[in-house]
Symmetry: C2
Subunit: 276 residues, 2 copies
């Protein structure tokens, strides 16, 4: 049984969105809004509408709880508001693979749109806040705000791109490079999400192992190598990235695949219209 604590929208929203007074400064907008604003030319009205939806239905998920169960069908799209989550697959014999990490502002669950049994589970790493948007609400939102729809396409395609990089990462890099690459990605994404890229990562070594495609013992040894090389450090049992540049050099990290930045926001204009 899932243990989900649903909390009144107003309460939560005032707790985690202190900007709620109605000003539109993107700096304190919900993470997803801020992110989507980078992709397409989301107007203030678009952002406000999305922001309102994100406030309506926020639930608190306790650490180490799977909040999107394997095999379940979801009536809602889940959006990360706070905390970290991981998406994993399980083989029948128990082998587990983390296929993605979800940070604030990430859409956990585009696949819910397929309305089929989820072939992945999603688990909170620490305590997490997730906004649920019903498909109907999303339908209304995207119908009235086509630019949001464009931006969601972007978001979805960008996360597919990350997926491909992960595949390349685990297949073509060795353990040390793999882990370094993962750290680089997380660092870059945290920074882009407006969070402190230097903040200690809440990941357990098992998570690292499951994400990098190795055993926890080997993850431990790999981590130690990175530590003695001075690239990461441990602060009171929390991992911290000591040298982003060093890690990037080791991993051959090129953030292009993350598809940040609004470089060609104008160019995607008509595409959004296209897909929507």
């Amino acid at each position: 049984m899932r243990v989900l604590t649903r909390i009144s929208a107003m309460l939560i929203s005032s707790l985690i969105n202190p900007h709620d007074a109605g000003d539109d400064q993107p700096i304190c907008a919900p993470p997803l809004v801020r992110k989507l604003s980078r992709h397409a030319r989301v107007t203030a009205a678009d952002a406000a509408a999305l922001g309102k939806l994100l406030d309506l239905n926020v639930r608190l998920v306790r650490a180490r709880t799977t909040f999107i169960e394997l095999g379940s069908t979801q009536a809602e799209i889940s959006v990360m508001v706070q905390g970290w989550a991981c998406r994993y697959k399980l083989l029948p014999d128990g082998r587990r693979q983390i296929v993605a990490f979800h940070l604030p502002g990430d859409v956990c669950d585009f696949n819910a749109l397929l309305t089929e049994a989820a072939d992945t589970g999603t688990e909170a790493i620490g305590d997490v806040r997730v906004a649920g948007i019903t498909k109907q609400a999303l339908a209304r939102l995207t119908a009235e705000h086509p630019r949001i729809s464009q931006a969601l396409w972007w978001e979805s395609l960008a996360s597919a791109s990350v997926q491909r990089e992960w595949l390349t990462n685990v297949c073509r890099r060795n353990a040390l490079e793999r882990m370094a690459h993962l750290f680089c990605e997380l660092y870059a994404r945290l920074e882009a999400a407006g969070q402190d890229g230097q903040a200690p990562l809440p990941l357990a070594q098992v998570d690292l192992a499951n994400a990098c495609g190795m055993t926890s013992e080997h993850a431990n040894r790999t981590l130690r190598s990175l530590r003695v090389a001075g690239l990461v450090s441990l602060q009171d049992r929390k991992l911290a990235i000591a040298s982003p540049d060093g890690l990037a050099a080791l991993a051959g990290f090129d953030p292009a695949y993350l598809h940040f930045g609004r470089s060609n926001a104008t160019a995607t204009e008509h595409v959004g219209a296209a897909m929507v």
Copy 2:
């Protein structure tokens, strides 16, 4: 330099689409149309409109030619009409990873919508026919045929799901299981595409190696194991799947992740509307 032969639409269409006379029987529709019809309730009019677009601009790509260059930006979305292609990533030091195979009916290039430099290349494995749809044309199509847009969302999400399965496959299965799994997937996808699942696969061993995340030598040995186990066979230098069931048992193959089937086509109805 890319060597692309562009051929008059009418010519090609009559060559490869002998059904062109205007009848709407899905059995002889272009592969993409047939596939999308499984996802959402695409009407005859929707299908016809898409089919027409797919006929407008078909190019022939010779075997072993990269037709979507790394680093390029694309004005068109490419759709596989005939033949096989692979999508790959390259590391600076030359290591290569195939991240997807494209069969007839697959959209190669959703990422073109991002209008950023492609971080993957796409190469024809044998001779290939690709339909190009300009973003503008796609915009018009999806605006007039929202169900097509729904179906494209489905298609995009399904391919992301395949991507995740690949990650799990290479991380958590050994060489033998990996390759068996790949064969199962290709077999299932070929069958679903209405092609003969028993047809010999045009893949070179290097391709197998690059897709399964191993060296070509090891791919060779792995393939031999599968051959002596009677699961695959070599017919005049072409690989053929001898025992789909045996392969599936070995690999622990569950086709759910491919998201075939119209099981819940009705349920996705309003979602399509949502995203569009």
